[in-house]
C-alpha cells in the first residue's frame, strides 16, 4: 500500500466472558484500511463481524473484553483512549451506520432537526441556518426527494430505505474520514439496496471517505469493495481484491462461501412445476382501499389504493411466489388472504370456498386450513409465555386437544420443526431468530393446515438459517402436502422454491409467469428492473445501467394515470399515459401487463442456456 493507512488493526483479540468458559470472538485480527478505499468484511452470522465493527469505534462492552492488540487510527490507539476523547472522534471523524435504521432515530424529533443537532454538536461554531442548509444539501446528495420538505418530517413518515439514507446523511454530514457500515442493506428491498450501494460509492468519491463495509452477503460486498477480508470464526481466512475474491478465491472457506451463494441464472436450482388442476387458492379481482384523513383539508379524505384488482390461482401442492418492493401491496394482500381484513371487492376462495364474509364458527374452521407465517420472529412470538404455551395456543383456541394429549402433540410438532422438547417451559428470550421462526412454524403446523402463506417469513434470517428452513419447508411439503404462498422481496429465494411467480407493483400484479420465464425472459420492464438490482456474484442478464430505478414507487394515494409504472419506466411512450395495460395470459398461463411489444426492450445481455417459451405481452 503506497499511502499511510487511515486505520491499522494489529493483532486484535476479543474474548467473550461471563456464563461458562471464556470464548474467543475475535482472534489475532490484523488489517489496514487505505485512505479513500472501501474495505469489505464478509462472514457468516456469528463470525464476529459486528464485534469487529464495534471494536473499530471502541464500543467493546462487557461481557466482551479486548485481550490484546490495538486499533490505530492515524497513529493513535483507539482502544486506549479515554471515553471523552473517543466521543470526540466518533461522529466527527469516524462515523458508524448500523443495520436497523428504524430504531436509530428519535421518533419524537423531525429527522432533519436530529441531524442538525448532531452537526452542531460536532461543529459548535456553525450557525443554525448554515447547518440547516448543509443538512438539506446532504439529504439532496443521497437523493431524498424534496429534501427541504422531508427535513421537517418525523421518522415514521420515512420508509425504511429513506431512513437508511437519512442515517447515511447523519454519518456523512460531518465529513468523516472513516465510515463504518455494518450490514446496512440487509433489511432493505433489492432495488433500494442497489440504490444505497450506488450512492455510497458516489459519496465515497465525493467526500473522500474511507469505508469499512461489513455484510454477510457476498454479492453486495464484492460489488462495492476494493478489497475484501473474509472472516470465519473470529479469524481472517483470506484477504483479496474484490475482483479476485469471486474469480480466484484461495482459501477453502471462501470457495465454500462462494459455492453457497445461490445462483439465479447459471445452474440455478428451480422447482418442478405442478401440473395438478386442483385449485388450492383462487383470488379474483381483489381490491382493498384504505380511507385515511387528509390533514391539509378539513374533513378531507385520501384513498390509499393498496391492492387494485389482483387475480391469481395457486394449485394444490405448489409453491407460488409474490414479489415486489415494499409498499407494493404485498402485506395488505397477505392480510386479506389470511382473512384478518376483508377485501372491498373480489373473492378469495380457499379449497373452493369463499372466505370473504365468513364469520364465527365457519371462519374458525376455515382458519385451520390456511395459516399465515409472519415476518418478524421477535415480535410474532409473545415474550411472556413459554415456548410450549405459545405452541399450545392454537389447539386450545380450536379446542382440539387437552391435557396430556395436548402436551404430546406439542412435543411432536416441536421435534418435527427441529426444536428441542426441552425448550417447552423456557421463555423465548434467549432464542435465535431462526429458533423463534421455528416456534412460529410449529404454531402454524400444529393445526395441520393445507395452505401456508409465508409473508417475508425468512427475510430476517441469514442465508444459512434460511437454507435450513427452506429445506424444512420442503420436507413438510412432501410429508403433509402443504401448499405454500411465498410473499417476499428476496428474488434468490423465490427463484429456488417457487414454480410460479407473480410480480406486484403498486397493488397490482404486473407479470405472472412460471419461474423460468420470470427470471430468463421477463416481459415486463419492472420485472427486469428487479432482476437488474440483485447484487450477486454472477453476471446478470439485465444491466442496472439500463433498468435501475431512481427514487421510490409513487405513493398509492396518487397513482399515475394509464400504466402505473410509466413514471419510472425507462421505455414509457405516449400510450402508457392514457391506456392502463391489462394482464392477459397466454396458453402457458404466462403474461405481463405492458404495452411494449416483445422486441422493444433490449435483449438479455447474457442469454441463458435454456430458454423457455417467450411470454407474449399483449400489444
Amino acid at each position: 500500500m503506497a499511502s499511510k493507512p487511515i486505520v491499522r488493526v494489529e493483532n486484535l483479540s476479543v474474548l467473550l466472558e461471563g456464563g461458562g468458559e471464556p470464548r474467543p470472538v475475535l482472534a489475532d485480527i490484523s488489517f489496514d484500511v487505505a485512505p479513500r478505499s472501501v474495505l469489505g468484511i464478509i462472514g457468516e452470522s456469528g463470525s464476529g463481524k459486528t464485534v469487529l465493527s464495534n471494536a473499530l469505534v471502541n464500543w467493546i462492552k462487557l461481557p466482551l473484553r479486548v485481550t490484546s492488540g490495538q486499533v490505530l487510527y492515524q497513529g493513535r490507539n483507539l482502544l486506549g483512549l479515554p471515553e471523552h476523547e473517543m466521543a470526540k472522534l466518533r461522529g466527527r471523524e469516524i462515523a458508524y451506520i448500523g443495520a436497523n435504521p428504524t430504531i436509530a432515530l428519535d421518533p419524537t424529533i423531525p429527522v432533519g432537526h436530529q441531524i442538525v443537532e448532531k452537526l452542531r454538536e460536532v461543529e459548535p461554531g456553525i450557525s443554525r441556518e448554515a447547518a440547516r442548509k448543509r443538512v438539506i444539501d446532504t439529504l439532496d446528495a443521497v437523493r431524498i426527494p424534496s429534501a427541504a420538505r422531508r427535513f421537517d418530517e418525523y421518522p415514521f413518515q420515512f420508509s425504511g430505505g429513506m431512513m437508511q439514507r437519512a442515517m447515511i446523511v447523519d454519518a456523512l454530514v460531518s465529513n468523516p474520514k472513516l465510515l463504518i457500515a455494518d450490514n446496512i442493506t440487509q433489511p432493505l428491498d433489492v432495488t433500494v439496496a442497489a440504490q444505497i450501494i450506488r450512492l455510497l460509492r458516489d459519496l465515497q468519491s465525493d467526500f473522500e471517505t474511507s469505508i469499512v463495509f461489513i455484510s454477510s452477503a457476498l454479492g453486495v460486498v464484492s460489488d462495492i469493495a476494493d478489497d475484501v477480508i473474509v472472516i470465519n470464526a473470529g479469524r481472517i481466512v483470506e484477504r483479496q481484491t474484490a475482483a479476485r475474491i469471486t474469480s480466484a478465491p484461495e482459501h477453502a472457506y471462501t470457495r465454500d462461501l462462494i459455492a453457497k451463494v445461490p445462483r439465479l441464472w447459471a445452474a440455478a436450482e428451480t422447482p418442478e412445476p405442478t401440473l395438478l388442476d386442483d385449485m388450492m387458492l383462487e383470488v379474483r379481482d381483489v381490491e382493498r382501499t384504505y380511507v385515511v384523513p387528509n390533514h391539509t383539508k378539513l374533513f378531507g379524505e385520501n384513498h390509499v389504493r393498496a391492492v387494485r384488482g389482483v387475480t391469481f390461482d395457486v394449485r394444490r401442492g405448489e409453491s407460488f411466489g409474490l414479489i415486489g418492493e415494499s409498499g407494493c401491496g404485498k402485506s395488505t394482500l397477505s392480510r386479506l388472504l389470511s382473512s384478518i381484513e376483508q377485501p372491498d371487492k373480489g373473492t378469495i376462495k380457499v379449497e373452493g370456498r369463499d372466505i370473504a364474509g365468513l364469520k364465527g364458527k365457519p371462519l374458525l374452521d376455515m382458519r385451520r386450513r390456511f395459516q399465515l407465517l409472519l415476518q418478524d420472529p421477535y415480535n410474532a412470538v409473545p415474550a411472556h409465555a413459554s415456548v410450549g404455551r405459545t405452541i399450545e395456543e392454537p389447539l386450545r383456541i380450536h379446542g382440539l386437544a387437552s391435557g396430556a394429549a395436548l402436551k404430546a402433540r406439542v412435543r411432536d410438532v416441536m421435534a418435527e420443526v427441529g426444536l428441542s422438547p426441552d425448550l417447552y417451559e423456557s421463555l423465548p428470550v434467549g432464542l435465535s431468530a431462526g429458533q423463534r421462526q421455528r416456534i412460529n412454524i410449529a404454531r402454524a403446523l400444529i393445526l395441520e393446515p393445507s395452505l401456508m402463506i409465508l409473508d417475508e417469513t425468512l427475510s430476517a434470517l441469514d442465508q444459512v438459517e434460511q437454507a435450513r428452513l427452506l429445506a424444512l419447508f420442503e420436507v413438510l411439503q412432501r410429508r403433509h402436502g402443504i401448499t405454500y404462498l411465498y410473499i417476499s422481496h428476496d428474488l434468490t429465494m423465490v427463484r429456488r422454491v417457487c414454480a410460479r411467480i407473480g410480480v406486484m407493483y403498486l397493488g397490482r400484479i404486473v407479470e405472472l409467469a412460471d419461474n423460468q420465464t420470470i427470471f430468463e425472459t421477463p416481459a415486463h420492464p419492472y420485472t427486469r428492473t428487479l432482476l437488474s438490482s440483485i447484487l450477486t456474484v454472477e453476471p446478470k442478464p439485465f444491466r442496472p445501467e439500463t433498468y435501475l430505478l431512481e427514487g421510490e414507487p409513487p405513493d398509492p394515494i396518487h397513482i399515475p394515470t394509464g400504466c402505473s409504472f410509466r413514471t419510472r419506466c425507462p421505455f414509457a411512450f405516449d400510450r402508457c399515459a392514457t391506456d392502463d395495460p391489462e394482464l392477459a395470459a397466454d396458453a402457458d398461463g404466462n403474461g405481463a401487463a405492458c404495452h411494449l411489444a416483445p422486441g422493444q426492450m433490449p435483449p438479455p445481455t447474457i442469454l441463458p442456456a435454456t430458454t423457455g417459451p417467450l411470454a407474449a405481452p399483449n400489444a
Partner: protein, 299 residues
Amino acid sequence: MTDIALSARPRNRSVAQRILAGAWTSTEMKVAVFIFAALAVLTVVAPFIIDASATKITVADRFLPPIFMEGGRYPYFLGTDQLGRDLLLRSLIGLRNAFAIGIVSVVIMFVIGCAIGIYSGYRGGWVDVILMRITDVQMSIPVVILAITILGMSRPNPFTVIAVLVLASWPAYARVARSVTLAERQKEYVRAAKILGASDIRIMALHIAPSILPSIAFVAVLDIARMMIFEAIFGFIGIGIQPPTPTFGTIISTGTQYLLNAWWITIVPGFLLALALTSLNLMGGVLERSRNLVLQGQL
C-alpha cells in the same frame, strides 16, 4: 439486583415458579416476607394473648409510656392513649382495617380500571372515545371532595370507604392500560393470535393482559400504600370509619394533641404503617425484578 442468584437455571419449572424461586433467593424478599408475616400473625393473634383491651377505657392507666421506658408496665407493651386503651392493640386493629381496605380497593380498582382500559384501547373508535371521556370526567373530581360528598351523606363503613377509593382511582389504571394496549395491539403476536382464530376476548385476556399487567401491578402495589394513607386521612378529617373502631387516622389525629408529653400515641401507628408499607413495597419490587430477570432469560 445483584443478590438474586444467577447460577441456578432450572429448565423444567414453569415461568411463575421460576419467578418466585428467583425472588426468594434475595435477602430483601426474605426480610420483607418475615416482617409481613409477623405483622399478619400479630394482628390475628395479639387480641387473644395480650391481656388488655383496645376499646375499654381505663382512666387510671392513661398516658402510660411503652414498656421499655420509665413508667411503662405490663401488659401495655407500647403504652396507652389518652383514655388508657392499649396502643399496640389499637394500632394492630387499625393496621388490619387499613390493610383490608387498601388491598381490597386496589384489587377492585386494578381489575375494573385495566379491564376498561384494555377494552377501550383494543376496540378503539367510538367505544374508546366514550370510555375515555368518562374517565376524564371521573378524573376531574378530586378524591377528598368525592369522599366528603359520599361519606358525609352516607354512614362511613369499610364498604363505602372502599367504594370511594375505587371510584376515585380507577381512571388512572384505565388510562395507563389503554395507552399500553394501543401500542400492544399493533404487535405481531396479536396478529398471529388473530390468524390462529383467537377471539377478541381471548386476545385481550390471554395475550395482551399478561404482557402489560405485571408492570402496572407493580405500581398497584405502591398504590396499596397510597390507599392506606387515604384511609388514614379520611379518619383524620373525621369522615372515615367511625369510633370506637380504631383506625390509623383517628389514633393519629387525636394523638397530635398530646404530641409533646405522649409522643408514642402518634409514633406507634405511624411506625407500624411504615413497617407494613416497606415490607409490601420490598416484596413488590423484588418480584418485579425477578420477573424481569426471567423474561430477559437470566434466570
